[in-house]
């Protein structure tokens, strides 16, 4: 090797490292599994496929605060040790969410962060906005953000009412992925308006059908809109969206075809499911602690198949097994049966008794033992409404709807309910309109953000 060759080689090495240090050499990915989401539509799509964030961990504490659930005293004492959040949610204590990281607050805001990252990524990939996939991703991200915000409103804000919506504190409306951003709580009206805006836009972007029920379809957006409008007591719009969703997904399962003896008679992704999601598995929602209140169980008539499809009895106690998730985890997604009930309620509230009964009977005939169901028939709209609301409670038990229903029905003087718990010698009461219908925001959040506590 000559001197010149040697020097050339060394110079070449210098050059390579000098040049490449800022060029391609260092631009390769260190791990083939990593990606910056805004680089490709595919990565944004893969984020939406993360069911652990987008289809799980819907708020669960409210499911323990409702009148459908019963926890025996000794189980409650054990639960207090196992998970404070669960035990305290049951008695509406102010100390909830402070012993676990997977709080109802954080898990929903995580879905919002994903949605915001996806929306920002789509903005960066604007040149692909003509593609169907781009539109569908945007629709899905908007849907998920609305879904999470709506769920948060149910847990952490008081009921929506036209009169007070401007003055009732809602949520910090998180519209960017900036983790350092500080936001105050927007009003309940602003929040609901935002939920509606996101959903209305998503409905125009989403596909009619989807391959998997964890993905979002146009029908899911309509179904969620129906749910939101119903919660806002805007019955006309609720009805329109419910009917729209029913026409796309009209099938009801005939419970006579189910094996009521099975551990879980209903399957995940069954025919009624439009959009799949489940709530956080809090200890209190598992059969180890949570039972079914007699109050609810006794509403089911003997020939009502839901009595055996939804519940099992063991040593005099009643346990829930009718999850549309096919397991002990509770379903909180969107399904056709809820749409029939929304439509029926909206018809009843606009005094269209025939249509209301029509929707209700259509549902119930699939729930009763073949040949035993006598279609309901009464001309009184108010009585029909009461029937529908009772059926709503029975049909949607442990589907994460009861807390929202209690909130909105308590706004109607003749439909208010006081929940009383007798527990280990103490009596706990939740009056209609109680401030505790908005659950305490986790202490960690208050400490970090300084926002107003409920």
């Amino acid at each position: 090797m000559t001197i010149m060759k040697m020097i050339k080689m060394i110079l070449a090495l210098f050059l390579i490292s000098a040049i490449s240090s800022c060029k391609e050499f260092l631009d390769v990915k260190p791990d083939a599994k990593l990606a910056v989401p805004s680089d490709k539509l595919l990565y944004l799509q893969l984020m939406l496929e993360d069911h652990g964030t987008m289809n799980m961990f819907n708020p669960a504490a409210s499911d323990l605060a409702v009148d459908d659930v019963f926890i025996p005293g000794d189980k409650w004492t054990a639960l207090l040790q196992a998970q404070r959040t669960s035990a305290n949610a049951y008695i509406w204590d102010k100390d909830v969410f402070n012993d676990i990281d997977l709080t109802d607050w954080a898990t929903s805001y995580k879905a919002i962060l994903y949605s915001n990252l996806i929306l920002e990524g789509l903005d960066k990939l604007k040149e692909e906005s003509g593609q169907v996939l781009w539109k569908e991703l945007k629709g899905a991200a908007l849907f998920h953000r609305a879904h999470a915000n709506f769920n948060l409103l149910q847990t952490f804000s008081l009921a929506y009412s036209e009169a007070t919506a401007d003055n009732t504190p809602g949520l910090p409306l998180k519209l960017s992925s900036d983790i350092n951003e500080k936001l105050p709580r927007a009003s309940v009206r602003q929040c609901y308006d935002h939920v509606l805006a996101d959903l209305e836009e998503s409905k125009t972007l989403l596909p009619k059908t989807v391959e998997f029920k964890t993905r979002v379809s146009m029908t899911a957006a309509a179904a969620l809109l129906a749910r939101v409008y119903l919660q806002m007591q805007q019955y006309e719009l609720a009805l329109r969206n419910a009917e729209e969703a029913i026409s796309a997904s009209p099938v009801l399962i005939d419970y006579n075809t189910l094996n009521a003896d099975a551990a879980f008679p209903l399957n995940r992704f069954n025919e009624e499911v439009i959009f799949h999601s489940i709530i956080t598995g809090l200890s209190g929602t598992t059969p180890n602690f949570g039972r079914v209140s007699t109050d609810l169980y006794e509403m089911y008539r003997p020939d009502d198949l839901r009595r055996t499809v939804y519940y099992r009895q063991s040593a005099g106690e009643v346990f829930f097994k009718g999850s549309y998730n096919g397991s002990t985890s509770r379903f909180s997604g969107l399904a056709t049966d809820e749409l029939y009930l929304i439509a029926a309620e909206c018809y009843a509230r606009s005094n269209n008794v025939t249509a209301a009964l029509n929707r209700l009977n259509k549902l119930l005939v699939n729930r009763w033992k073949t040949g035993t169901f006598i279609p309901l028939n009464t001309p009184d709209a108010s009585e029909v409404l009461s029937l529908i609301l009772d059926e709503r409670r029975k049909e949607l038990a442990f589907r994460n709807r009861r807390w929202s229903d209690l909130k909105r029905l308590n706004l109607e003087p003749n439909r208010q309910k006081t929940i009383i718990r007798n527990l280990n010698g103490s009596v706990y009461t939740l009056e209609p309109g109680d401030k505790r219908y908005a659950m305490p925001i986790p202490r960690k959040v208050i400490e970090a953000s300084g926002i107003e506590q409920n």
Partner: protein, 1061 residues
């Protein structure tokens, strides 16, 4: 520099006036070769000079008589009285000095440097100190013999070492390991320690900054043996056999069987098991509970049950473990090497074979080969090719103590029987109730029993790994003082792991049984096919590193200038693949496909449905680095040295803008050889040097990113791939930087009586990655995010002292190592979390401002309640038993801080006594100033997972007991929070301070005359006793504070022979 020389030149004639000339030649006493660069001075006049290349010098002195002082690195100073004029040139022979300090040639992995010109902080461990131990891996041999290196072995199978303490909170904590000039990424066990010539530990910025962003935790530079120029062929052989005593099963303070059974009876009477009896998952119940149930149900008589239970009270499963599963370990080591060299070439070849058999018969085998050459081609070019290969095989055999359990959530009950009186294996309760297990074969399932003593025979677990290292270097001397160097290294590691669960193994049978489907007609189907289950994984790591550098070295009169600049480029690629095969039959090499997509209701638990575990995983990582670096040193008159070093690294960190990928780091140092000064005429001190350096080292956290990044993973609910957020958006992320100030003093007495080094350092960690609370509204579930938030300061002392108390035929040498390292977080510590977040036994890290990185915090202890035996804490100054409040609502201020979890002061005292060929080495190590939390009884875990503790026997039982014990009373039902409070309270904190004998070594070297007759150059025998035990420990409970596992390592005895031909 030019001017200094010019001035000296001008003055030279004046100095020389009226003087006599001394002519002499300096040679080495050993090989009679000339020594160039020896320094010559006179005691009578100011004249001094250096010897030339041929060893000669001439020096003009005034006067008639004088004494010459000749010094040379690595040799003893020589004083030669001269009478002038001289009749003939003098021949001065220097003898080699064997003190480590003098023969130091520091190797940083980039360049070599004589100890004299060093400014930074280095510790050199030579072959001799590394060979005192016969440990099969080189890092273990550092234990107790190296300054500033602390071993942390508290967690089983997770040894970590630190140099001068931790410099990071969540960054990488391990020192960089450099093998023959290149960062080493392979397993440390691939290196045959018999090939290692020396290890240099780079501790401060001046020493390590040449390694840039990876140097923050210090650098260990391993240099392997090479042949010497002009040396005849030499063959060395050494072998060692060591035996390790089997672990003491009774070290673990287990609950007595009789006590455990009494607890079970109490629980039974309280109806504790009634829920589990009807459990659809068939949760396991212990034999005693089954007997109690059988007696209650009238299946056996009460007397029968009592008799059987009383028999079980005598049984202690630890005896079975000791008798049937554990043995003494045996390690064998053989190493052979051949080395030598001509005037142009050197060579070194070696082969090594190790075979270890562990305590549970696990075997390990290593076969290693190495070849290393230096060839001179022409006068200017040297090439240095090297090749090494190692093969390691390991195989797991019998299960160990912790792997035999009664289920995923259960420990093994203390009266379990592993074998009957004749030694035949017995089944233990495993995963399910015995009644369920017994009826399994009748229901068409496979036999469901688990026999720990024979089950392992149906399993095979082996691991084979290979390592190939090839390197080539070329040095071309462009001129006398300038050389160009190119180096390249290729490293490939590949490994295969196989875990075969034979069809008869419990694991495979359990998988088949669990997924067995029973249809409405009562017929069975088997989604998991009968037969074996084979898990395999393969991985490969390939690294390529290239380096080009220019070196400059020039001596001009009193000036010595050396410099180095270069660039490096490096790529590391790792790939892996693991997969599982069901229904595997190794005899016919057949397997059976399964349906991974369906969910199956488990036969063992109708409430649970699962898919068949899908274990197919691929990984690929590619890390790239580029660096440019420069290093210079200037020495004036052998007295003053200034060193400067700088390096810029860049890498393909993900999700970071390019300009943030690189980071510049630098260091500067000064040293002063005081003994070279004329005014320094101490007869006492022969060598005295002061050093001062400052600079920055970096640390890399490759897991963080400034942008949001996602990780693609397998299988969501629809069996589709999906992506998870791996890092949250974090735009301000930067590298961690450690500023290090180091001040050192090296000294040696004239007579060689004592020598040593004293160093003080102060490390300032800046922009350390720490957790910062973030509003969960951001979507960050944990509520914290890793950012550059923390700063820390660590100060310390490293002292090495070597005393040759007696240096005659009988020799007594004492080596003392003394290290102090104390650190504290100065900012970024999160002091507002709730108390329990800080309590982690010192194993986890929750940084607290003003405290060490790893601290011991506990709940304040208020003693036991004299009436109830309940543990009490302290809340707002008053005694409290509100455990929920104490545990979940305490703040940091409510906790007790004990101190650091790792030693603040540590070191060793090594004494060597030798007489003729016999030498005895005794090394005692000490670790002081730290704390640990000892385990104790948790009633909740005792009831629910069968985990007991001997403290149970000490529990409070009646008023008055609180004065002798702090173990809470047993209550039913158990209160998990009460247990949580007690097991993390200050009642259980002990001081870790201890003194232990690390090594005792007895060596006999046979004398030369005898050996020469049989053509052997050296022959020695060696007996090494490692870790024989404690001399003193602060805790009175016989606990090993440096080990939190079940069974600490016990002593091992090694016998070795060594021969050179």
């Amino acid at each position: 520099m030019k001017y200094v020389g010019l001035i000296l030149f001008l003055f030279l004639p004046f100095l020389m006036r009226g003087q006599e000339l001394i002519r002499a030649k300096v040679i080495s006493a050993a090989d009679k070769l000339p020594l160039a660069g020896a320094s010559i001075s006179t005691t009578g006049s100011k004249a001094r000079t250096l010897s030339k290349r041929d060893g000669t010098f001439s020096l003009a002195v005034s006067g008639r008589a004088d004494t010459l002082k000749i010094s040379f690195v690595g040799y003893r100073d020589q004083f030669v009285p001269v009478m002038l004029p001289l009749s003939a040139p003098l021949l001065i022979e220097l003898t080699e000095n064997n003190l480590v300090l003098d023969e130091v040639k520091i190797n940083t992995g980039y360049y070599e440097l004589p100890g004299e010109r060093v400014t930074g902080s280095f510790t050199l461990l030579d072959n001799k100190s590394l060979n005192r131990s016969t440990a099969p891996d080189i890092i273990s041999r550092l234990k107790g013999v190296s300054n500033a290196v602390l071993f942390d072995e508290r967690v089983d199978n997770n040894r970590s070492i630190s140099i001068r303490g931790l410099s990071t909170i969540y960054g990488d904590t391990q020192p960089l390991i450099v093998l023959n000039n290149f960062p080493y990424e392979g397993g440390i066990s691939s290196i045959n320690p018999n090939d290692v010539e020396s290890i240099t530990i780079l501790k401060d910025a001046a020493a390590a900054s040449i390694w840039g962003v990876r140097a923050a935790n210090g650098v260990l530079v391993i240099t392997t043996k090479k042949g010497g120029l002009n040396s005849p062929a030499r063959v060395s052989f050494n072998s060692a056999i060591s035996m390790g005593r089997k672990p003491d099963m009774f070290y673990r303070p287990a609950i007595a069987s009789a006590d455990f059974i009494e607890v079970e009876k109490m629980l039974f009477e309280n109806d504790f098991y009634s829920g589990l009896e009807g459990d659809p998952a068939h949760s396991p119940l212990t034999p005693v509970v089954e007997l109690l149930i059988a007696a209650r149900d009238g299946k056996i008589t009460a007397a029968d049950a009592d008799q059987q239970i009383n028999a079980l009270k005598q049984q202690d499963v630890r005896n079975d473990f000791s008798r049937y599963l554990y043995r003494n370990s045996v390690n064998q080591q053989y190493a052979l090497n051949l080395q030598g060299g001509s005037d142009k070439n050197t060579y070194y070849y070696s082969a090594g074979y190790d075979r270890n058999t562990g305590h549970t018969d696990n075997s390990y085998e290593r076969f290693s080969l190495r070849a290393d050459h230096t060839n001179r081609i022409g006068t200017r070019l040297r090439i240095k090719p090297a090749l090494s290969y190692s093969l390691q095989n390991s195989e797991q055999k019998r299960p160990d103590f912790s792997s035999i359990t009664s289920g995923d959530n259960y420990f093994l009950y203390p009266y379990a029987r592993l074998a009957d009186d004749a030694g035949n294996p017995l089944a233990i309760v495993k995963n399910y109730r015995t009644s369920f297990i017994q009826q399994a074969p009748g229901s068409g399932l496979l036999d469901y029993s688990y026999l720990p003593l024979s089950d392992y025979r149906s399993r095979e677990n082996n691991n084979q790994s290979h390592e190939l290292l090839m390197s080539a270097g070329a040095v071309y001397d462009l001129s006398k003082s300038l050389s160009a160097e190119a180096l390249y290294q290729y490293n490939r590691n590949w490994a295969e792991t196989g875990e075969m669960y034979g069809g008869d193994s419990f694991y495979a049978r359990d998988m088949v049984n669990r997924f067995t489907q029973l249809d409405e007609n009562g017929s069975l189907t088997f989604p998991v096919p009968r037969g074996g289950i084979l898990d395999q994984s393969r991985s490969a790591l390939v690294s390529n590193t290239g380096r080009g550098q220019l070196k400059y070295q020039k001596d001009y009169l009193k000036h010595t200038f050396s410099g180095l600049m270069g660039a490096e480029i490096r790529q590391l690629r790792q790939e892996g693949h693991s997969f599982r095969t069901y229904g595997y039959d190794s005899s016919g090499l057949v397997s059976v496909p399964v349906d991974y997509t369906s969910l199956y209701t488990l036969y063992t638990n109708p409430d649970d449905s699962q898919g068949i575990p899908y274990q197919n995983e691929y990984t690929r990582e590619l890390n790239r680095y580029t660096s440019i670096y420069a290093n210079t040193a200037y020495t004036y008159d052998q007295k003053y040295t200034l060193s400067l070093s700088a390096r810029k690294d860049a890498s393909n960190l993900f999700g970071v803008n390019s300009n943030q990928k690189g980071v510049p780091l630098w260091s500067a140092g000064l040293s002063w050889n005081v003994h070279q000064e004329k005014f320094f005429k101490s007869r006492l001190m022969d060598y005295l040097k002061l050093r001062l350096t400052y600079g920055y080292n970096g640390n890399l956290s490759r897991s963080l990113s400034a942008l949001a990044t996602v990780l693609q993973v397998n299988g969501n609910l629809n069996n589709m791939p999906y992506a998870l957020i791996r890092t949250y958006p974090n735009p301000d992320l930067s590298w961690e930087k450690i500023g290090i100030l180091n001040a050192g003093l090296d000294f040696k007495s004239g007579s060689g009586l004592f020598s040593g080094t004293i160093e003080y350092y102060r490390k300032n960690g800046k922009d350390l990655i720490g957790d910062q609370a973030v509003d969960p509204t951001s979507g960050v579930i944990s509520g914290t995010i890793r950012k550059n938030v923390a700063d820390m300061v660590a100060t310390g002392l490293d002292i090495t002292l070597n005393v040759n108390t007696i240096d005659r035929a009988f020799k007594w040498n004492t080596g003392l190592l003394f290290n102090v390292n104390s650190s504290r977080i100065t900012s970024g510590g999160n002091n507002t979390l709730r108390g329990y977040r800080y309590i982690n036994g010192g194993l986890g890290i929750t940084p607290v401002k003003g405290r060490p990185v790893q601290s011991i915090y506990t709940y304040k202890w208020g003693g036991l309640d004299p009436q109830t035996g309940d543990p009490r804490g302290i809340e707002a100054g008053a005694l409290s038993a509100d455990y929920g409040n104490l545990v979940y609502n305490s703040g940091l201020e409510d906790l007790e801080y004990h101190g650091p979890a790792t030693p603040v002061t540590f070191g060793s005292v090594a004494n060597t006594f030798s007489y003729k060929g016999l030498s005895l080495f005794v090394n005692i190590s000490y670790r002081l100033g730290y704390y640990f939390t000892r385990p104790s009884i948790s009633y909740n875990r005792l009831y629910n997972s069968w985990t007991g503790h001997a403290d149970f026997a000490e529990r409070w039982q009646k008023p008055g007991d609180e004065s002798r014990s702090s173990v809470p009373s047993m209550i039913y039902p158990a209160d998990e929070t009460r247990d949580e409070f007690y097991t993390n309270s200050s009642a259980l904190v002990e001081k870790g301070d201890n003194l232990r004998v690390q090594d005792v070594n007895l060596t006999y070297s046979f004398n030369d005359r005898l050996l020469k007759a049989i053509k052997i150059r050296d022959f020695s025998l060696n007996l090494n006793l490692r870790n024989p035990g404690f001399i003193w420990r602060s805790n009175k409970l016989g606990l090993d504070p440096d080990y939190t596992g079940f069974t600490p390592q016990r002593e091992s005895l090694a016998f070795g022979i060594k021969a050179n031909f």
